[in-house]
């Protein structure tokens, strides 16, 4: 084997049953579940374990979920601050420890260049050679690439533009005004941090999800977890595609357990404007629908709290539970700003907190829809033996949270085992292994099948 062949990715490294792409919490949770079933697999990771947490997140980021909720199959938080929220380096350490204790077969520093079908199943080309496998699990992250609207290209020169992954801390941002575009957890956290560092902040707001950090004395995530809201299933929703597109809730994990909402930001001085609609003659134009997106978020929050109250009334028999709370409606300035000349306003930096997308540029399989999203049914992708993990509302509301990986990985590992099982059985049933919801989860039977099954390659 010569160096040219090696660099072209054609060096055959190995054959396994399953290749998992990505050693973040999702990929490792799946690895754990496959390992428990004795399924031969490898986890390919472009950088190191928990790479995005180490290298692609801003410094002050903490999880939106409390530590007691941070767990993966076979490992739960065991530190002394169950009500705290992990910093990004603590998340990275937690995931790295998980990789070690679960003995995940991770190949770090291995970038996947292409995944394509071949006669035995799939071929996975990496910068360190080629793998062949029967099944692939895509766990490369729902938030791989910041998504920046095309409008960014029309901004006047001299205005710095940053994505949340380029942004590290306020020290990196030039003195002067900042326009933060986007009002999800990311946009609000960055706006808050920049404002505290002395930057005049303008926040452009589209549809968003408002939530108090604490409700009736408990973390909002406790309520959502306890009342089963996080376990709501993808196949029980009226409008799944809408649910999958919902932005992350306006929350921050902080010691103070402070509320992070538009009222808090504007109290600190931030100017609230509508969604960025257009750029014309150096003027950024904002949608006039700001009132309505705030009304929608206020109404939705009130419905969530009413749901929690109803649940609490029948499930919590505790006289010490504080009474139901309602929060002020979002306060907006009387005079609406519909356009700003960035230069005249002294706005030197624009931060696009406009969401994230997965990166499937290396996926050479016809499974993407017109918008570049993978077609899947609860993580079972639209190609036999192809699975995806960690996407918003993949199988449950909690799917994109760290603790959401456990149930999804269990379910999908079961499906995957059934798929491998069907592949190894001779006969016509082989032809349609991915169509069913069958899952063979009994270890013994699975092992017996594996022992006698003919190889397909």
């Amino acid at each position: 084997m010569n160096a040219a062949a090696f660099s072209a990715g054609s060096l055959q490294v190995g054959t396994v049953d399953v290749v998992i792409v990505g050693a973040g919490h999702s990929g490792l949770a799946m690895s754990h579940c496959l390992g428990r079933r004795g399924i031969d697999h490898v986890v390919l990771e472009r950088g190191e374990v928990a790479n995005a947490w180490r290298h692609e997140r801003w410094d002050s980021l903490r999880l939106l979920t409390p530590n007691w909720l941070t767990r993966l199959p076979g490992m739960a938080y065991d530190g002394d601050d169950p009500d705290g929220y992990m910093r990004r380096d603590e998340v990275a350490a937690f995931i790295a420890r998980y990789a070690r204790t679960s003995g995940a077969p991770v190949r770090t520093g291995t970038t996947v260049r292409a995944v394509m079908a071949d006669d035995a199943g799939y071929r996975v080309d990496t910068d360190r050679g080629r793998w062949r496998c029967r099944a692939v699990v895509l766990a490369s992250g729902a938030f791989a690439r910041p998504s920046v609207p095309r409008i960014g290209a029309s901004l006047p020169g001299g205005v710095a533009q940053l994505t949340p992954y380029q942004y590290r801390n306020p020290g990196q941002v030039e003195a002067g005004g900042v326009l933060v575009v986007g009002a999800s957890a990311t946009g609000l956290q960055l706006a808050d941090e920049l404002q505290r560092a002395g930057h005049p902040v303008t926040l452009a707001i589209g549809e968003h999800v408002r939530m108090p950090r604490m409700y009736r004395g408990r973390d909002i995530q406790w309520w959502m977890h306890a009342a089963g809201l996080l376990d709501q299933r993808y196949d029980a929703l009226d409008d799944l595609s809408r649910a999958r597109g919902v932005a992350s809730p306006q929350l921050i994990g902080s010691r103070e357990r402070a509320i992070m909402d538009l009222n808090a930001l504007s109290a600190g001085g931030a100017r609230l404007v509508g969604r960025v609609a257009n750029v014309r003659d150096g003027q950024v134009q904002f949608s006039g629908a700001l009132r309505n997106v705030c009304a929608l978020a206020d109404l939705k929050m009130a419905r969530l709290l009413a749901t929690i109250d109803t649940w609490a009334a029948t499930h919590i028999d505790d006289g010490s539970l504080p009474p139901a709370e309602r929060f002020d409606a979002t306060r907006l300035p009387e005079k609406k700003i519909l356009g700003l000349n960035l230069k005249r306003e002294g706005i030197r930096t624009v931060i696009w907190a406009t969401g994230f997308r997965p990166d499937y540029s290396w996926l050479k399989l016809p499974v993407l829809d017109a918008k570049g999203n993978i077609r899947h049914n609860g993580g079972v992708a639209d190609a036999p033996g192809l699975y995806v993990m960690g996407l918003p509302f993949l199988r449950r509301r909690k799917s994109s949270f760290i603790h959401g990986a456990e149930d999804d990985a269990q379910d999908l590992a079961g499906h995957l085992a059934g798929y491998l099982d069907a592949l190894s059985r001779p006969g016509p049933s082989r032809a349609c292994p991915a169509s069913g919801t069958r899952s063979r989860s009994r270890h013994g039977a699975l092992e017996a099948d594996r022992a006698v099954r003919p190889r397909c390659d």
């Binding site: 509508g274 609609a277 257009n278 629908a289 309505n292 009304a295 929608l296 109404l299 009130a302 609406k336």
Partner: protein, 187 residues
């Protein structure tokens, strides 16, 4: 919701057909591309008559059941003859009609019986703009206020949610609140 409650609510909206269209069009995005048209002829003074009859949608030419005509003019205060509403009032009527239709559709979908829906609209305008007195003043509205008076079998919160959802899905609300590229040419 059981079938009986579903039967009782009737806002004159065929939700099944709307949901069916949504389902079908999500699979055929090209059929979802519509083209709306109007023609307009000058009559005299500021009086003009718009005619709306054909449009394009579902991949082919379509016709309204009949041609709809809308006269526009200006009031006597403007030294005109008031043969019709002013164009800006017609635009307000467009917003009102769109939001009201949306409320009916959302109410039907949410199983809410409407008894009456009345919208009152107000839009401020400083004439110094269109008269070219002050170039800092814009020609159009400096703001639009819509007040809905709704009588329905629903709580106040449910009614507020209807109104919010209607705005979220309204074409004319979007046209009002976001810039639109407009090209005006001579044939």
């Amino acid at each position: 919701m059981d079938a009986q409650t579903q039967m009782r609510v009737d806002n004159g909206i065929n939700v099944e057909a709307l949901l069916g269209a949504r389902e079908a069009l999500s699979k055929m995005p090209e059929a979802a591309r519509f083209n709306w048209r109007a023609t307009c002829e000058w009559i005299n003074g500021t009086h003009a008559r718009s005619t709306i009859d054909s449009y394009f949608g579902l991949g082919e030419e379509q016709m309204h059941r009949m041609a709809h005509r809308i006269d526009s003019d200006h009031p006597e205060l403007f030294a005109a003859e008031d043969h019709g509403a002013t164009p800006v009032e017609i635009v307000l009527a467009g917003l009102a009609g769109c939001l009201t239709a949306g409320i009916a559709a959302v109410a039907q979908n949410r199983n809410i019986q409407l008894r009456s829906v009345k919208a009152t609209l107000e839009a401020g305008m400083d004439l110094q703009g269109i008269l070219g007195i002050d170039s800092e003043v814009r020609n159009g509205f400096d703001g639009v206020k819509v007040i809905f008076d709704i009588d329905a079998d629903a709580t106040r919160e449910e009614i507020e949610a209807l109104v919010a959802q209607s705005q979220k899905r309204s074409a004319v609300f979007d046209i009002f609140t976001n810039p639109t590229d407009v090209s005006v040419m001579v044939s």
